[in-house]
């Protein structure tokens, strides 16, 4: 058969005969068979063209597709519908739609109780500013005050009273809770009722508590503050016999020595301190003070020091006594002393630069009576007494303010009182413990045993705005009004009583703390009404305060004007009996021994004692020195890290006596060797989605007994443990070891600095060194009318960061979260850059606020493919969000890297859409666009304020002036370092800063003509060279 086939094939083959294989040539059956199948066997076995077809043909499918598209298109709602516009039914008289109202009130963020103005729009508070009339803060408010508005709109505020049943909280109503609590209180019998609160600054609240005590005679008030000045005041009492430590006239000091004191930073009263300090660092009046700082960790005050000495806290006493001994040796002071300390020996032992010590002693001698030595709150009593002695013998008591002094409405309790409370609870002598807006479970040292004992105690009632550690162990949680929903009065200074008034009715079903107490005093849950505390406050003022205030106007007028102004001021005599008690001068244990590390626990710059942990803006505000966000850390020095083999982000265990804490390390240039500095206020639990799990709770290391001071511990052990914890910093270290990177900011003319002596000798030294005028390819635009510009005086800028938070509030800047900060995607329009120069043990630090420079020849404007960023005829670099497509070329081109891109809709992205909550939306400034994903944003020089100023000027029929506009950052800066105005108007104050002899532009050699002038920082050191 095959022969036949073969023959057939050979005969039937066409001409020419092509064959691909022998098998084909000889007509192998299989091969021929294969030719009819396109694919090998098994390749298309499952392919059946008719098998998996739907009943729908291609034509039908396309028809359906077209029909449904048309259907969907037509079914869209009426495209012309523009929605509804709904007016008020009854418009409140004070509201003009579109115009903000301002209410004077008082901030309760810390114990300084600064006066504030709350800006409201249509009944919603949207911004906090300082009250310009208030004598203490004079129009400025710190970053905590600025951000406190977020706490009002916190989506996690407790919305109604909670009752705990079998460890689960359930919502209940006020009547049942009030009835139950009144029941407990009335049946307390002889048992104590403990009220635990933070420091009480309100005279009316004190009166209310006294009324409470009258009703329930076994009431005892326990007030506390995690960071307080009780040691300072008790030392003053020992030194002078009466009164509180006085306020200081910082502006009159020519030499300041700060010992372990962060008086410009985290310590209290910093707004007033900063303002007064900056008054004598003035390039206009050529007045420069000299700041010496002797501290262990690098602080904000240390950044601004002219000379900084790195010294362990336990040597501070020796240091001060050494100064006194040396001054006596030089004959500057003549007093009998029973100690003699050689300061140069101390300096040698501790690697202090003896030259700096020389300078210090010479300055103190030369400026007798015009200097001040100031010890920090955390130092023990004998150091304070020594400092008081030093100030006294140098005659510096002239700088103690005699016009105003701090007062305590009620002195705070100490740890012993809390120990007694815990014992009483154990012995069943306490009926109820009531937390009045306080969090002792978190704040008190663990060895007092507060948490354990109260967890088992039944009648714990907490009055709080948000959940906290103390609320978690309570039986009832009662929501209280935020400060902006409350009435109150505050007295922290002689001669001033500040008032706070509510600007909004309570958003949730909460009540004012004092009103709740009044209901309990009346023993009737039905007696509550919205205004009971208002009436009580007003009555107290009418009976007790108004009569003492000498005025002829009626009480109602007086009350309204007090509310309008936010405070009343009157003369109050201060006990200025300043006779130093030399008998108090007895120092034991001058030399301190320490077998390990020293632990310094500090207050957080942004979170305070932890109360602002749930505030995203403050968590994301970079630490002024380390620029770390979202966590705390253990700061150690460069050499200590090397000797222990530690690097950044390594985990260590800090052990004080029996107490341990696991925490990551951060190598901080300038810290003292063998010292660890940790900030408190982190590691919160049950405190809200933002706060919980952030940072490490270093309160665990606190103890009721310390070998040095309540915040400084000796004989601390550090050991490296396994693991790493990445800290999110917005700015990296500079490497101190790489020569190419050293002093990069100076070499590249990002920051220009000088010394006072060089400036006084040659005022034009900046211009001599740096100005290079280039030609430009572009024809210059003529700015005929107003052209906006800004100047930042780096002599006054402390690097505190208040401007950053103010900008965040004003411009609806979102919080992005730690993971995004790790990718450098933080959205703050204004940032404070911090540069190091010098050696890691004694660095010089320069800070520079960096914002959009609104360059005339902006490199970002050229490269936008859709022309979303352009230049306005009044000098602003404008950003049009609706046109931006998100190319990010502009940010690429910006040499200052000030443009921020919305990689996500951060409001929807951060912590599961926390910021998309409708309550949160009430916070937004209606004049500023809320940006979504995919658009670029940056500082606009507060264009909304400029537009409003123009509109107001037109309404008044005049031209807009530069001084009409104050940007948010300018408003917020406590030292008034930022100035803003019209560069074309020679009559304005701003004009002289724009054309200042010390003024320079950052990166001026790029010839992009920025409009932010920096006034060069002058360090007041003895040499002309830096």
């Amino acid at each position: 058969m095959s022969e036949n086939l073969e023959k057939q094939s050979l005969d039937n083959n066409p001409d020419p005969n092509y064959w691909r294989s022998f098998k084909e040539l000889y007509n192998d059956k299989e091969t021929i068979e294969k030719k009819f199948h396109e694919f090998e066997k098994g390749v298309t076995d499952e392919f059946d063209p008719n098998e998996n077809l739907s009943g729908l043909s291609r034509r039908k499918f396309l028809a359906l597709l077209g029909a449904s598209a048309a259907f969907a298109g037509v079914a869209c709602t009426d495209y012309r519908d523009k929605g509804e516009i709904i007016p008020y039914n009854i418009k409140p008289e004070e509201i003009t739609l579109g115009k903000p109202n301002f209410y004077a009130s008082t901030c309760t963020g810390c114990n300084s109780n600064c006066g504030i103005l709350i800006k409201t729009r249509e009944g919603r508070p949207i911004k906090i500013d300082g009250n310009p009339d208030h004598p203490v803060n004079q129009g400025k408010i710190c970053s905590k005050g600025q951000a406190s508005i977020l706490n009002l709109y916190d989506p996690e505020r407790i919305k109604s009273p909670l009752r705990k049943n079998y460890n689960v909280f359930s919502e209940t109503d006020w009547k049942s809770v009030d009835d139950d609590i009144i029941n407990v209180l009335t049946n307390s019998g002889s048992k104590e009722i403990a009220l635990v609160t933070h420091k009480i600054n309100s005279p009316t609240t004190l009166k209310l508590l006294n009324d409470f005590k009258n009703e329930y005679p076994n009431t005892k008030i326990y007030s506390y503050e995690l960071f307080n000045d009780s040691i300072r005041n008790s030392a003053w009492l020992k030194s002078y016999g009466s009164g509180n430590f006085p306020l200081i006239n910082w502006n009159e000091a020519e030499v300041i020595l700060a010992l372990e004191s962060d008086f410009l930073g985290a310590d209290e009263n910093r707004i007033e301190n900063s303002r007064l300090f900056a008054q004598s660092r003035d390039v206009d009046s050529k007045k420069f003070n000299r700041l010496y700082v002797a501290e262990s960790g690098m602080t904000l005050t240390g950044i601004n020091a002219d000379y900084r000495l790195s010294i362990r806290p336990e040597h501070q006493l020796e240091f001060v006594l050494g100064l006194i001994s040396e001054l006596k040796k030089k004959g500057v002071v003549q007093i009998p002393l029973d100690f003699n300390v050689n300061i140069y020996d101390l300096a040698k032992k501790n690697n202090l630069d003896s030259k700096k010590v020389d300078y210090l002693i010479n300055d103190l001698s030369a400026k007798k009576g015009k200097s001040i030595i100031y010890a920090g709150n955390s130092l023990p009593e004998d150091v304070h007494i020594a400092v008081n002695l030093l100030n006294e013998i140098l005659g510096n008591s002239k700088l103690y303010r005699k016009d105003s002094a701090s007062v305590d409405v009620l002195p705070i309790s100490n740890y012993k009182d809390f120990e007694e409370l815990v014992n009483k609870i154990k012995n069943n002598q306490v009926a109820a413990v009531i937390h009045l807006n306080s969090n002792p479970v978190y704040h008190l040292p663990e060895d007092i045993g507060y948490k354990e004992v109260l967890s088992k105690f039944e009648n714990v009632f907490s009055l709080s705005e948000t959940m906290s550690e103390s609320c978690q162990i309570s039986k009832f949680i009662l929501p209280i009004n935020h400060n902006f929903e409350s009435w109150g009065d505050y007295k922290t200074r002689t001669g001033i009583i500040s008032l706070s008034q509510p600007v909004i009715m309570p958003l949730h079903n909460s009540r004012q703390l004092e009103s709740i107490l009044l209901t309990w005093i009346k023993k009737d849950s039905q007696s509550y009404s919205d205004t009971i505390y208002h009436d009580y406050l007003k009555t107290n003022w009418q009976e007790n305060i108004y009569p003492k205030y000498s005025t002829s106007i009626s009480f109602d007028k007086f009350w309204y004007s007090a509310l309008h102004n936010g405070f009343i001021s009157f003369t109050e005599n201060i006990d200025s009996n300043l006779n130093f008690n030399y008998g108090a001068v007895k120092f034991e244990n001058i030399q301190s021994s320490n077998s390990g590390f020293t632990l310094v626990l500090k207050e957080s710059y942004s979170l305070g004692d932890g109360r602002y942990a749930n505030n995203g803006w403050l968590q994301e505000l970079p630490h002024p020195v380390s620029k770390i966000t979202w966590d705390n850390y253990a700061a150690i020095s460069h050499s200590t890290a090397k000797s222990l083999g530690l690097k950044d982000n390594d985990l260590i265990e800090v052990q004080v006596a029996e107490r341990k804490l696991r925490i990551p390390v951060f190598v901080q240039a300038g810290n003292t060797d063998n010292t660890v500095v940790i900030e408190l206020g982190y590691g919160r639990e049950y405190s809200g989605i933002v706060a919980t799990g952030v940072g490490f709770n270093a309160n665990k290391l606190l103890s009721k007994n310390s070998d040095y001071s309540p915040w400084i511990y000796k004989n601390v052990k550090i050991s490296k443990i396994q693991g790493k914890y990445i800290l999110a910093s917005t700015q990296e270290h500079h490497s101190f070891d790489i020569p190419r990177e050293q002093d990069l900011h100076l070499k590249r003319h990002i920051v220009v600095e000088g010394t006072v002596s060089e400036y006084l000798r040659n005022p034009a030294f900046i211009k001599d060194k740096h100005q290079i005028e280039h030609e430009s390819v572009y024809t210059p635009f003529e700015y005929k009318e107003v052209k906006w510009g800004m100047s930042i005086d780096l002599n006054k800028c402390l690097g505190c960061g208040d401007c950053v938070v103010a900008c965040n509030v004003e411009n609806n800047v979102p919080v992005v979260g730690k993971d995004q900060v790790l990718k450098s995607r933080e959205m703050q329009w204004l940032r404070i850059d911090r540069y190091y120069s010098g050696s890691p043990d004694d660095p010089k630090i320069s800070t520079q606020p960096m914002l959009c420079q609104h360059c005339d020849l902006a490199p970002c404007e050229n490269v936008c493919p859709v022309v979303a960023t352009t230049h306005s005829p009044d000098g602003l670099n404008q950003m049009t969000y609706n046109r931006c497509v998100g190319t990010r070329y502009c940010s690429n081109n910006c040499p200052y890297k000030v443009r921020r891109f919305n990689f996500f809709n951060y409001r929807d992205h951060f912590r599961n859409g926390y910021q998309e909550n409708p309550v949160f939306a009430l916070l937004n400034n209606p004049e500023v666009t809320v940006r979504s994903r995919g658009v670029m944003e940056k500082c606009t020089f507060c264009v909304q304020r400029i537009s409003d100023a123009r509109s107001e000027a037109i309404r008044q029929g005049r031209k807009v002036k530069g001084s009409d506009v104050k940007t948010a950052c300018q408003d917020a800066c406590p030292t008034s370092a930022i100035k803003f105005g019209d560069i074309n108007n020679p009559e304005e104050e701003f004009y002289k800063y724009r054309n200042h002899e010390l003024g320079y532009y950052s990166l001026s050699e790029l010839n992009i003509k920025p409009n932010v002038t920096y006034i060069a920082k002058l360090r007041n050191i003895h040499s002309e060279e830096l």
Binding site: A75, K99, Q501, I504, T531
Partner: protein, 63 residues
């Protein structure tokens, strides 16, 4: 190029148009957005306190 165009019956055409038209009009009435909005959760009442005293709006103050 198909030159044979299939004719549709007039009655069938009218039926189809009528049905589609009425379907569209009814579809536009369905409130889809109402199902996803939780209006009661959004209700926060903003009211200012009648007893508080605002500062007068000085015309010069930059807002």
């Amino acid at each position: 190029m198909n030159f044979n165009f299939e004719k549709i019956k007039r009655s069938k055409f009218l039926n189809y148009t009528l049905l589609t038209g009425s379907a569209i009009l009814l579809y536009k009435k369905i409130p889809f957005l109402k199902s996803v909005s939780n209006i009661s959760a959004d209700k926060i009442i903003i009211k200012s306190n009648p007893l508080s005293v605002p500062r007068e709006n000085s015309g010069e103050k930059n807002v």
